[in-house]
Amino acid sequence: MNLLAFAARSLRRELRHGELRTLGAALLLAVAALTAVATLGQRVEQALLASAAELLGGDLGVAARRSLDPSYAAEAQRLALRASASAEFPSVVFAADRSRLAQVLAADAAYPLRGTLRVRGADGSERDAAAPPPGSAYADHALLVALDLRVGDTLQFAGTPLRVAAEIVRQPDGGQLFTLAPRLMVALDEARARGLLGEGSRARHRLMLAGERTALARFQDWVRPRLADGAELVTVAEAQQNLRSAFERGEAFLRLAALLAALLCGIAVALAAQRYARRKIDEVALLRALGAGRHTVLATLGLVLLMLALPACLLGAAAGLGLQQAVLLWAQQLLPAAPPPPDAGPALAAIGVGLAVLIGFALPPLARLRDVPPVRVFQRHLDSAPRGFDLLYLLPPLVAVALIRSQSGSSAVASAIAGSLLGVVGLALLAGLLLLWLLRRGGSALPGALRFGLANLARRRSLSLIQVTTLALSFTALMLLAIVGPGLLDTWRRELPPDTPNHFLINLQPEQATAVATRLGALGARQLNTLPLAVGKLLAINGKAPRAEDFSDRRAAGWINGETRLSWSEALPPANRLVEGHWFGAAAATPEASVDRLWVDMFHLKLGDTLTVGVGEQRIEARITSVREVDWSSFRVNFFLLLDPASARSLPHSVLASFHLPRGHATELAALSRDYPNLSLIDVDAILDRVRDIIDRVAAAATWVLGFSLAAGVLVLLAALSVSADERRFESALLRTLGARRGQLLAAVLGEFLLLGLIAGVIAAGGAIAAGRALGSGVFRIAWTPPPAAFALAVLAAAALVTLAGWLGARRVARSSPLLVLRRE
């Protein structure tokens, strides 16, 4: 027979009756949620990265301490990438009798490729600008104040007079968020002409690129093996520790929401398929009796599903794309940059995942239909022959694990989610079995209707277990999304409290520290935190001079070949956490060191190893006695290497201070700079504003993503409850026929569902709390405390929701004539 035509007719007929509609809707929602979440996630992420690119002044760059190989620019041109060359170096700038060490940025006319250079002219008006032409310069406020200059005045730079054409308001900074001195900007040709960029200069050369993503990726692949000694890639992700940490965590959260939505839809598909398969048993038996072969039955089923799935997936993808577009239109003003147009990748991937979910979750129950014996048309009690163990039932967990693995993007997220969900399944099954045992033992003591309701739970043993497990799983996901997720985000946001240090003082001499602190205190500075800063060199690890090529981490070379900044402190500094060993004792007999975990991993260190550092003429060989985990996004002064104060105090050093000072103290700070000309003052308010902005936007985007996942959760709830709907309807009709009052029926159903919802809710709360703790410490690196009130409310809401859904279903049954219901069965 023509299977295709037969399947098409079957699908058309069955769609009229809604059994497959549930499955189609589950699939549609799954793909819609996945598409919306993945596309939205990708576009928001790209918009965020674009804003980071604005901070960076380009999408990608190459930087080195020497002139860059011309082949880099040539390859960029070949790939149709826009390029801008620049160099950065310290230089002393003079004006009349004043002098100041400035950080000079020499850039070509193409600068900046991304973001804007904002300057203020002599008339006080702000405008976007390109790099200054030769003969002129831009200076930032700190430099103007230090040299007592105004826009239009002239300064001396490398023996040449330059006119200050404008004041720098804001500039993309090539990933150097913290510059150590006031800034001056000149034309690249100017610096070249003054011989400031030749051999032996201290300039850091940079070639920034911008353009199409694939071209950038090709350039990155091309340049990586060609990077000469000391040259490095400047990427958005590697640009700055603080921003990177913000992106990683934001991205992890978006992925988490998408993953849970996909898993919820998988559960919904499994439940719908289970119910569909149960309903199909009689039909399959009849078809087999009428002479349809086993393969015909299976092939027809497969074709029906495919014909349902493909349009559902396509519709879902379209709906998902529409939804995310609507969200972006609504939230456009929240995004720092216009998001790129959506590409088909996430939608196609979502369709692929949707089909995998369908096959993975729907195949096991449907495949069992092939074993329905045709003789069942005479003997309805004959179900398919029981199998001890069906390999197919491994499929859903395998698909779930593959989903978790592929969508989480991090093994820490994957193991936190998989572990907690697995725990929830185990607990739900255990609790379910225990409850059923208790009901069998003590259920007869309960009043009539309630006894009947709870006896139902015990009698439909496997259905009850399926319901408790799936309800617990979906409530876990919902609690993760509704309570844990926002809680984690909130904790993360609160990590940057309003009084986060917003100024850094560098190069403060130890004898000036007290006086400066007093003046800052008088200005109203809070959170003043000072640490000594010594600049030295890492000479040996365990007595052996380290070689960069011995370490796979490319960052190691920077510390081995360059300078190492270190400090010392009596107490563990804020934003540091001791993860191994012990903090320095009162008076150590031999020098002790504490290192950040990054160093431990990078240099393969362990407690007891020795590090030899040279500062000036002095050498210190210190034993590692502790390992710290530093929160680099805390905007505090932090060091990879700390020494014990007793051993390090005599090292030549300056003092570094961080503090919070409300805005509006520019004049007083300028005066401080003038009185202590050796000081470098960094205002990080602008940087902090941007970081806070980004965190807020990630949080806003994540809230939208959560909405989709919640819809998926509701679908699972309905699907889970419909699992036993057929039996329940029949039994209710039977009871009504036997004379049960409507109130008795409702009491039976309410008792059953209330218990079901309560158990699922309690287990889900446990699972969500465990997952939240694991995610907090393992992924978001924040200490998250579960809010007891919110979880208690969630458990009650879960019980209420399940009871309400049960009541709505029972009401329908109780209203209809028992005779009609019986005839329908």
Partner: protein, 235 residues
């Protein structure tokens, strides 16, 4: 129609044993029978005597533990499930006690089903004719739940005869119907049987219905206690 020549259906010493809680349970024990082309055989017996099991074995829906069933010259034991399904598709029709109409399909679509399974391009016209023949031309687009029990069984009869099977198995076809409707349905069944020249194997509790068959086989605890008259059964 009189029986002639080689029987259409033959069972040789068939037995069926299933596992039970206290060891193997013998449901059928050494049943022999033969039904000639065009004849009708009633299988009667108390509940649990093995009637339905025998019907399932004769129709190739299940396989005997011992013995052999030959249907239209084909030894069912030599065929796999796919082969038996193909044979059923070509030669066999069914009528069930509980009708077994698919609730999701209309009366017309239910009747079209055997033709569609057999790959017939045109199924609608014969289905309408078959429904017309059972007096339900006005109920084509009704769903099973919108039909009375008698109407449902008439749809089932239309479905059973629509592809002109050589052999019809009926399992208590009037068991779920009142006496009046049951009589009407059985009249229809025998009328169709005659007009199509179909061989009929019928399981029933109803002595009146059994009496209308050419031969009668009584089962008790899985054994034949009254064998069909040789002439009527054609053996």
């Amino acid at each position: 129609m009189q029986a002639t020549g080689e029987p259409l259906l033959r069972a040789n010493d068939i037995s069926k044993t299933v596992p039970g809680p206290d060891g193997p349970l013998q449901i059928l024990d050494g049943v022999d029978l033969a039904v000639a082309q065009g004849a009708s055989l009633a299988i009667v017996g108390a509940s649990g005597s093995g009637k339905t099991t025998l019907l399932g074995l004769l129709a190739g829906l299940d396989t005997p533990t011992r013995g052999e069933v030959v249907l239209a010259g084909e030894r069912l034991g030599a065929l796999d499930e796919e082969g038996r399904a193909a044979l059923r598709r070509r030669l066999v029709g069914f009528v069930f006690q509980s009708f077994h109409l698919l609730p999701a399909l209309t009366a017309e679509e239910n009747v079209m089903l055997p033709l569609e399974l057999d790959g017939r391009a045109e199924a609608r016209r014969p289905a309408r004719d078959a429904l017309d023949a059972v007096g339900l031309a006005h109920r084509l687009h009704h769903y099973p739940h919108q039909l009375s029990g008698g109407e449902q069984q008439r749809v089932a009869l239309a479905r059973a005869f629509v592809n002109a099977p050589r052999l019809l198995f009926a399992d208590e076809p009037t068991g779920n119907l009142d006496a009046h409707t049951g009589r009407a349905v059985s009249d229809l069944l025998f009328a169709l049987n005659r007009s199509h020249g179909t061989t009929l194997v019928l399981v029933t509790h109803d002595p009146t219905l059994a009496a209308r068959c050419d031969a009668l086989l009584r089962l008790d605890a899985g054994r034949i206690v009254t064998a069909p008259a040789a002439a009527a059964a054609g053996a």
